[in-house]
Symmetry: C2
């Protein structure tokens, strides 16, 4: 049974891509077949694992699948990690939201595209852009759950109510089975009161839906994308790698 998790939050720069890339690697090293799908025109997740895509690279991307009806099998690239495949993004996706507006069942394009490969993977992870437009709605319409990264900042707290409202609307009109996988506290700096305050607010608001694992601010997480590698392959001893491994374990334990 494949589980599809969307990494979403319309607030920018909260750690969606960093979490999607590093969770994809975490599941793959735990020998769960994983597909990482980048649906952000910024292509950051595509960059974040670029060094792992060698001979298995496909020249078909998510835009070809969403807009040009190319079959999903053609858009899948293999990586150096045996259990990790990837569907890459492209800058052309920036126009997709306007192109999708006029299409029939426009919120379900991604669900229909991924349908043929559902049985092949244990996890499909979707990295969303920082907005609540049609690309993110497509992710919500096919996902089983949403993982919500939130950085320890005041503005990041503010956007949560809008995100939850959108999720409720999706549950009502597009995907009644959509759940919240959990809220993930990111870029936590234990020296700062602001980090502690935001953590307390998030835990009191979301209770057990807040992951026990916290992702601490760790410069190695910011360096890894420059080498096109997830943190586990860039610096396995770093706090960042330990934090994302512990999150992988926590999600796998929740499943059982």
């Amino acid at each position: 049974m494949t589980k599809i998790i969307a990494f979403a939050n319309q607030k920018g720069g909260v750690g969606k891509t960093t979490s999607a890339v590093n969770m994809a690697a975490g599941f793959a090293v735990s020998e769960h077949k994983t597909l990482l799908v980048d649906i952000d025109p910024q292509c950051n997740a595509t960059t974040g694992i670029a060094a792992l895509i060698n001979n298995g690279a496909s020249d078909v991307n998510i835009y070809d699948l969403l807009i040009n009806n190319v079959s999903v099998e053609e858009g899948i690239s293999q990586t150096d990690l045996k259990y990790l495949d990837v569907i890459q993004s492209t800058r052309d996706l920036v126009g997709a939201e306007i192109e999708l507006v006029g299409m029939m069942a426009r919120e379900f394009r991604l669900r229909d595209i991924l349908h043929p490969v559902l049985g092949k993977y244990d996890y499909i992870l979707l990295d969303c852009p920082p907005s609540l437009g049609l690309l993110t709605l497509n992710a919500f319409s096919c996902a089983d759950s949403v993982l919500i990264p939130i950085q320890c900042e005041y503005y990041a707290l503010e956007g949560l109510s809008q995100l939850l409202q959108t999720i409720r609307l999706v549950q009502k009109h597009l995907n009644k089975n959509l759940e919240i996988e959990g809220v993930l506290i990111t870029m936590y700096d234990s020296r700062l009161n602001l980090s502690k305050q935001v953590e307390q607010e998030v835990r009191s608001y979301f209770n057990e839906k807040t992951f026990k694992t916290i992702i601490h601010r760790n410069v190695r997480l910011g360096e890894a994308p420059g080498f096109g590698k997830p943190i586990l392959l860039y610096d396995a001893n770093s706090t960042g790698a330990q934090d994302y491994l512990s999150l992988t374990r926590e999600i796998l334990e929740n499943e059982t």
Copy 2:
């Protein structure tokens, strides 16, 4: 002569709002009549100066102006800073991009709205959402220049070529006078190599278009929005306040 500056970068969380809010306060305390316009559905700039809007609050917002044809004068709120006015955003703006798609001259809605007040202000600052959709295109179509905040991170460097390409397209088709006000290095941490590397890359790529002023990482900048105040009124002695004052001076000196 009014100067309109758009604060834009499709990469999320790079400091667009923090820069727009604190530059608005910087210009206002230097006695330049300033209008801050929040065109992001996240409403962060609206939050960032919320404590300054008292009796002068208008219940009309940018959505009413863009979509419901309310006159701009009705959407202007005064603040406690004599030379600072504000047009607030609303969550309803999330639907505006789709609603704008079918409108005539949809990229010029904001230009037409602001036209009547051009003579009233020295500076109009536009805080853009993290995308290159119709809201940001509206900002580019009426702006004189774009101020591009970029955080000292690898992913933030990546997005610059796409942003420059969009600006070139806008110059060709929508607004031939659009210039780059400058590239602003934000969240700089002098202890990190990553910060130094990104700064070097930005300066070698943009040369004199990179502001001399650097905005250092300073937790006070992250705390201020929780009090609804720009940094100058929250903690004038902080590094953040000093950095944004020095940037205000640098832009004002460039003008003469």
